[in-house]
Structure formats: C-alpha cells, structure tokens
C-alpha cells in the first residue's frame, strides 16, 4: 500500500510540475482538442504555417497556431510560458538558455528541422553576380568603407551610385546570424532600412534598383537575384543551392530549429516527430528550404 501511494504521489507531482512548467496547452491530450502555440522566426513562418495546415488535416484534434515576430520574440515568449514551441533561424544563446533555466526550471530543447542558405539579394537589373564576405562586411558593418556601387565595380544603376542597405529589425534571428557570421559580431552601420519581415526585405530589394539585402532563400522572387558568395577574396564563389548548403561549401548556411522547454511531451512530441518524417520534410523542400538529410532517409 505504502509504496503504491508514494509512486502515486510522485506521478502526481511529476504530472503537475510538467503541466505547470512545461507545455501548458499541449498537456491536455485527453481532451478532444489540443492547441500547440508556435512563435518565432520570420524566416520559418511560411514553413510552420504549411506544417500547421497539413498536420491539422491528418490530426483533426490538434490545432497548431503560428505567429512570427523574429526568433528573439519566440524565445522571449517561450521563457514567459505563453507558447509551446519557439522557432529559430539561429542557435540558442547561452544567456537565453540560462534565462530559461532560471525562469522555468526547464532545459530548452532544440530540434533541427531543416537548413537555410542565407541568401544575399540584389535587384534583378544589377549586373553584380558574386560578392565576397569581406565586401559584405564592409558594406554592412559599422566603420565599413564601401558605400558606393562603383567601389565594387558596379556601374551606377539608373544614375545612382549609393548602396541602399536593407537589413532586419534586431529581434530577427537572421539579423543576429548575419551579424555573427558576416560582420564577425561587429555592429551594423546606422541608416540601413530595417524591415520587419523576411518577405519585406526581398520586396524592398525588388522595388529598389540600388539595394542589397539578406534574407532566407525561400523568399526569392523574380524581381530579385541571389548572389554567389566568396568565402575569402580570391576563392571560388558559391551559389546558395541545396548541394552547396549540405556540403557546407556555402559560407553562410544555417540550421532551422524548433525549441521546446524540457523534453517535448504528448501532442508536442508527436508533432515534432511528424515534422521530421517524410511529409513534414517535404513541406520544408516545397517552401524553398533544405530538409534534414538523415530525417528524409527514414
């Protein structure tokens, strides 16, 4: 009798703490309807939306709600406990992990769900075909010396020579990824147009002949051109393709992640497993990103 009670008590405590700390909404598997709240990366919002729709078709009892706002906002919301799953287009920072542990007592768990080659976009009429990381850093970073197209050998476009830099707001994972891997943690030059979404960057570049911007490869449109990127000056320029991303030849490729608090449970676990299965990874490909190779093999 006694051991049974203790076991029962322990289960109760475990279940309660799980319910309180972890997936507040996803915990109700027994009830007919379950809602999984996702928030975060603007780069991934199309993919997650497509997952949500397809998953709901197959599992009528589970609804996945999706919103963007940037990877930083996703993490902030996950730590506050208002969502179940954060989507990220950059790695989790140590400081964020620490904050999650402190505020919720749970270890954040990342799952790799795809890859993206961070593409450098220019207007389709721009004759430029390739650019080096060093040139990018000189264009975008504080103290960088390149402000005119003529400095990198491009004739004035429509009579204008000034480079219009299109960047992202600071909550964006793409912004932080670019800062870390292209600018080497230097700050951005002031005066860039900081767009509030991945799609808006591509849209503005498509409208502006003298612009250059960076965004996920899934957002390419006919109005823009993706540049090949040279890892070092003099090295061979690499196009942002699936092969080059998987072989890590393309210098600014990154992983797309989803992140939950603690080991994902119940409905959330099923959802993440489905994302990594063939139908989930098919959607990653259809949205213009690159599936996780090991997962597609299954």
């Amino acid at each position: 009798m006694n051991p049974l009670t203790i076991t029962g008590l322990m289960t109760a405590v475990a279940v309660t703490s799980l319910a309180v700390v972890g997936c507040k909404r996803a915990e109700g598997v027994k009830s007919a309807k379950t809602t999984i709240q996702c928030k975060g990366s603007d780069t991934m919002v199309n993919v997650v939306q497509a997952w949500a729709e397809e998953y709901h078709k197959q599992h009528q009892d589970v609804t996945v709600e999706v919103s963007g706002g940037g990877s930083g906002q996703g993490i902030a919301a996950l730590i506050k406990g208002t969502i179940d799953l954060a989507t990220l287009s950059r790695d989790l920072k140590e400081e964020e992990k620490a904050r999650a542990r402190k505020n919720t007592g749970k270890e954040p768990r990342e799952t790799k769900v795809g890859y993206d080659a961070l593409a450098i976009y220019v207007h389709k009429d721009n004759p430029l075909e390739e650019i080096s990381l060093e040139q990018l850093s000189n264009i975008f970073a504080e103290g960088g010396t390149i402000t005119k197209w003529s400095q990198i050998g491009v004739p004035p476009l429509g009579g204008r020579d000034e480079i219009i830099r299109v960047s992202r707001q600071s909550s964006s994972g793409t912004y932080e990824f670019f800062r870390e891997h292209v600018l080497n943690k230097k700050d951005f030059k002031l005066g860039s147009r900081d767009m509030n979404g991945s799609k808006e960057v591509v849209e503005l570049v498509g409208n502006t002949p003298t612009a250059i911007g960076y965004s996920g490869m899934g957002y390419a449109t006919p109005a823009v051109k993706m540049l090949k990127v040279r890892p070092q000056a003099g090295a061979e320029a690499v196009a942002p393709t699936v092969e080059n991303t998987l072989s890590k030849k393309y210098p600014i490729a990154r992983s797309l992640l989803v992140c939950s608090l603690g080991e994902p449970q119940d409905a959330l676990q099923t959802f993440i497993a489905w994302i990594l299965s063939a139908p989930g990874q098919d959607i990653v490909r259809k949205c213009g990103y690159i599936p996780v190779p090991s997962a597609t093999g299954k």
Partner: protein, 313 residues
Amino acid sequence: MKNPTAANSPPPTTDRPTRSRWAIFGEKTLETVIRLCGISAIIFVVGIFFFVFKEAMPMLGREDFSVTQFLFSREWYPTSEQNVRYGVLAMIVGTFSVTVLAMIIAVPFGLGAAIYVSEFCGPRMKETLKIIIELLAAIPSVVWGFIGLTVMSQILVKYAGAQVGVNILNGGIILALMSVPIIVSIGEDALKAVPDSYREAGLALGANKWQLVYRVLLPAAKNGLLAAVLLGVGRAVGETMAVLMATGHAVQIPHGILDSVRTLTANIAAELGEAPEHSDHYRVLFLTGVLLFTITFVVNLTADLVIRGLRKK
C-alpha cells in the same frame, strides 16, 4: 414622467404619489456608476503613467547611463555585442519630420474639406461625403502601412525620383490620409456649431460666401478647428504600424524628405517584444515611452493654453 417600475408596483398606501424604493436605489446606483466612469479616466492615466515610469526609473539612476546621451546621441545599438549605445536623437528627428510633413499636407486638406462639407455642398453630396470620410477613418492602420509599403513606395520611386520608396514623404502622405478624416469630421462639427444667425447676419450685410467663411465662420469656430488639428497631430505622433511599414525604419538623421527615418513609436513596437523583461534594453524602451508621453503632454498643454488665450480675447 412616470417611472415604469413604480407603475407596476402595487398601489401606494399613502395619498401622496411616491417612488418605489427600487427606483430610488436604482437611481443612486446609476449615479455612482456614472461617477466612476468619469473618474476612471484619471485613474487610468495616472496608472499608466506610473507603470511606464516605474519600468523606466531604474535606468535613470544608473551611472553608466546618461540622459544627455540618450537624448542627443544618434547611435542606437541596443543589442550590440561590443558596445551597447542608446541614443534616440535620430528617432526624435524622425518622429517630428514625419508628423510635421503629415500636418502640412493634412491641415489644408482637412480644413478645406470641412468647410466644403459644412458650407458649400448640397445636402445629398454632404451625406455621401460624410459617409465616405467616415469609411476612410475606419481603415485599419496596418492596411495603410501595407499601401505605403507596396503601392505608394513604387509611385514615389517612379514619379518623385526617390532612391528608396519607403521614406518621410511616404510616411507623411500615409499619416496625412489617416488624420484627414479626423480633422474633417471634428472641424465640420465645429463649423456646424456656429449659430445660423451669424450666417444670416453676414449675408444680410452683403458678404459673399467666401467672405462669410473667412471673416465670420473661421474666427467663430477657431477653438473647435484648433482642437480638430491637434487631434490630427495626436494621431500622427502616436501612429505606429503604418509608419513602421512606410518610413523605412532606418536610424539616421534625414537630409531631405526622400530619406528613410525611424520613429519613436515604431522603434518601441519593433523591439519591445524581444527585449528580455527588466533588461536595460527593456527599460530604455520604456524611457522612450516616457519621452513620447512627455511630447504628447506638451502638445496637449500648449493646445489648452492657446485655446484659453483665444477665449480671453
């Protein structure tokens, strides 16, 4: 007037007609509720100000934070990994430039439309115009922002020769379109409130319509018209979503109306969500909120004083 409750209750025992206890009680309750509604405005304003100030306060006492730098530096690097700098000068300039441009466009248009609707057009035209102007006021700001980002930006690149379509002019036009309906409907009310005897007297003295408007109606309605303009300014200063999308969101001091800027409101909207709670960045954003609060307070106070001054004359 007979109270329906009293009429339904059993006939009173005394000769004197009395109101039922419920009617008296109901009246008192209603009075209290209405009084609470009135006072609630004060409670909310004080409460909001207290909250915003409380969140911003700890930053002011810090040694590594200087208010002068906050107000007069143009370098805004809230998430820098090397050197965090909080300077909002570029955004103050941005907010003012967009607002001023919007008012330069909106005030003549708005007041002109108000005068036309109130004095010159026929009754059928008046009804149609009023409905359409109210419809204009009902368009959500995010839709305006979308128009700015997609339609207006292309027009500006093509016809105004702008290098980038999202800039002060774009934001100013969008904000002007948003504040015109407010200026028109309040301005029209102010003109309508001028007694008809003024118009009759003016016409009887041989004034033509233009003289009537210019010499009689505008001076008579100036308080209301000023209020209309200031409410328009308030809308323009406080607008967030539309300017976020239409102005280009670039931290820089503009050199012309075709440059991109960032406004204080748009900056708060874009960054507050990711700023970790009670971090420096979060507190500085709240301090920006205090700054905005102060700006609108000064605008309102000035308006009040001006109106008082006008009344005394």
